[in-house]
């Protein structure tokens, strides 16, 4: 598969306590572990996945957000959040991840356009 130099974007659009969000992360980790260039995008309700101090275990949901801290081991270094989505929801940029790039809608879309395959969950 090394001949493929496609860039993969996983566009996260579901809120935190949602099976779709965990399965999106699983897909991203697989692309990463197969050495595919992979980026994570958070837009709409998806931005909620980045907010710190969420306590998923309180409602018996496995805290997959902790797994995001391991993204670097999967060579996933590009993480983008849509500023407009944060503002619309009154969310401050208090993330549980360090390397999130918050982008205007235009810049966010520019980044998306640099990818060959885009999956939205």
């Amino acid at each position: 598969m090394s001949e493929s130099c496609k860039k993969i974007a996983i566009l996260n659009a579901s809120s935190t306590i949602n099976q779709a969000s965990k399965e999106a992360l699983d897909a991203a980790l697989i692309y990463g572990s197969y050495e595919q260039s992979t980026s994570l995008f958070f837009q709409g309700e998806g931005v909620r996945q980045l907010i710190s101090n969420q306590q998923l275990e309180t409602v018996h949901v496995k805290d997959y957000l902790k797994t995001m801290a391991a993204l670097a081991f999967y060579d996933i270094e590009n993480i983008y959040a849509c500023k407009a989505s944060l503002v619309e929801r009154g969310l401050a940029e208090g993330f549980h991840l360090d390397d999130v790039q918050v982008l205007s809608s235009d810049a966010f879309s520019d980044k998306l356009h640099q990818h060959n395959v885009i999956l939205r969950f």
Binding site: D26, L29, G32, S33, K62, D63, Y64, T67, A70, F73
Partner: protein, 112 residues
């Protein structure tokens, strides 16, 4: 095939593949017992990986897939111990599968 381990008069439930049902019940004494079912005797080299995998799980709430494992090992132990060849020599059925079992962690997802 058993669905529990007996240790020190205590019954510790395992799933049908031999993994602990509750990872918090694990103690270091259980590791050799878990390895025994695969006919593996744990050496210090095994232990390094088993402890590492458990720590990874406790930090990130997931067991590392092989590539992530080698990458993470490289930072800690250097190139020699971070090759998948080295890991497969220690854990012939797959380091992700076996090291997690002895570390008392859940069976990694089949598709990962």
């Amino acid at each position: 095939m058993t669905t529990e381990l007996e240790y020190n008069g205590q019954i510790i439930p395992t799933d049908k593949h031999g993994y602990l049902v509750d990872f918090t019940q694990w103690t270091e004494e259980l590791a050799p017992l878990l390895a025994q079912s695969d006919d593996i005797e744990l050496t210090e080299a095994h232990w390094e990986i088993v402890r590492f995998v458990r720590e990874f799980y406790l930090t990130y709430n997931t067991s590392p897939a092989i590539r992530a494992l080698t990458k993470a090992l490289k930072t800690k132990f250097g190139e020699d111990k971070a090759s998948s060849r080295y890991l497969f020599r220690l854990f012939p059925d797959g380091p992700a599968k076996q090291a997690t079992k002895y570390a008392g962690l859940p069976k990694p997802a089949r598709c990962l």
